[in-house]
């Protein structure tokens, strides 16, 4: 049992709250530095695209957001699985916090994509395979959030949405593959994306910076949400009351 001690403690919301309180400032600082660096680099110093002019620069938001949207779903689902298997309340709290962030990132990637589409394709929206999969991912997120909020009972809300998230993980690869297949089947000749290999290194490095920045930023936001969730759920316990008394009411 002793070897499980760390796991037990990891499962304790209080331990988590107190530990992450220390990490947060550092993570925030790293996220800010990377974001500023990537943005300035991407907007001011990387060259103009020869075909798309300056409008391509939106990839510095679009692509990292799209990456994280997908990764965020798996993070959420893994937390759900941990919560279901080990009955760990903290995992459910992380999972609940991950859903709106993931949905937000998906939405950002959809909107930036649409904004980008207008100058490049001359239309706000097209049923491109990647866009379509992204839209469906957005629906999956919405479903989980809606289910989560529909329950009055928190425990049921957690477990139900965890089950749904797991069902979703089985489905996501299938959905991606089938949308790809669908698109190649119908593909209209009029649209062509600039494909990945044409991205020049001078564009790639700021992009990579932004991707890393988004990951750290994601971690920060996830921690903030989770800490908030912990306080709400544990508001009746002694340590939260003490904390509130100490901080003079939040």
């Amino acid at each position: 049992m002793a070897s499980w001690q760390w796991f037990h403690r990891l499962g304790s919301p209080r331990w988590f709250y107190e530990k992450t309180g220390g990490w947060l400032p550092w993570l925030t600082a790293v996220a800010l530095v990377l974001l500023v660096l990537g943005t300035v680099w991407g907007l001011a110093f990387s060259p103009e695209d020869f075909k798309q002019g300056n409008s391509y620069r939106i990839i510095y938001i679009h692509v990292p957001a799209a990456f994280l949207a997908l990764a965020g779903y798996y993070i959420m689902a893994v937390c759900g699985a941990v919560g279901l298997i080990w009955r760990m309340k903290l995992a459910f709290m992380v999972m609940k916090s991950a859903a709106p962030i993931g949905a937000g990132l998906t939405f950002v990637s959809l909107v930036t994509g649409a904004i980008w589409g207008k100058p490049t394709w001359g239309t706000w929206w097209a049923w491109d395979a990647r866009i379509t999969s992204m839209l469906i991912l957005f629906f999956l997120y919405l479903g989980i959030m809606a289910l989560q909020s529909a329950f009055q009972n928190r425990e049921a809300a957690d477990k139900a949405s965890a089950i749904l998230a797991l069902v979703g993980t089985v489905n996501i690869p299938i959905i991606y593959k089938s949308v790809d297949w669908w698109y190649t089947l119908h593909q209209p000749a009029t649209l062509k994306l600039t494909s990945a290999p044409t991205i020049h290194a001078s564009m790639l490095y700021p992009l990579l910076t932004m991707v890393v920045a988004f990951y750290v930023f994601y971690a920060v936001v996830l921690l903030l949400y989770t800490r908030h969730e912990i306080l709400r759920r544990e508001s009746r316990t002694g340590w939260v009351r003490e904390l509130i008394a100490k901080e003079g009411g939040l």
Binding site: R14, M88, K89, N153, K159
Partner: protein
Amino acid sequence: MAELLLTLEHLSCERDGRPLFSGLDARFHGGEQWQVQGPNGSGKTTLLRAIAGIGATARGRILWRDRAVREDLWAFRRSLLYIGHSPGIKGALTPLENLAWYRALSAGTLSEDSLGALAEVGLAGYEDIPCQQLSAGQLRRVALARLYLSSAPLWVLDEPFTAIDKAGVASLEARLAAHVAAGGLVLMTSHQEVTLPGVRHLDLTAFPPVLRDDEEGGYDG
């Protein structure tokens, strides 16, 4: 007679984060009849459902014949007859068809004589009428007919006498007494006067909720 059947160890329940009772320790033996008491909202229904294994809101341990219920769910469920607030009767089916389905579900713990059981609860002549044409009390009687069929030792009954008229209550009480006399165990709630000889009382207000101060484990269950 005095075989120990069900043990509750340090059971606590909460609803939506509001604790209802805690530290409930109790030992129930064969041949006993228990009435769970407490004012409205004290958690009687929650307790009975937790014992029956519906809803995962309880923390603490529940033992059946000295083994944790979760370790041998199947054996426990074969020993249990639970009748809750809702009768669980399909309006479109007749009483006989309803009981037939329950028999299939019961894995052999309900006997075959549905007709006799319906007669016992005063529904002779109603066997083949769709249940939606029955009144509130008649519907409950269909559900309670299982009391005359079941060979399960543990009966968990949540307000079984709701909507039953006086003659009906008397004959149900006789049935409960017979079950107890045969070594069975009855756990029930009722806001009406229960006139069974030797009924014991479990008062939930004796186990007031305490606010859990620490959650070190982070596990529930």
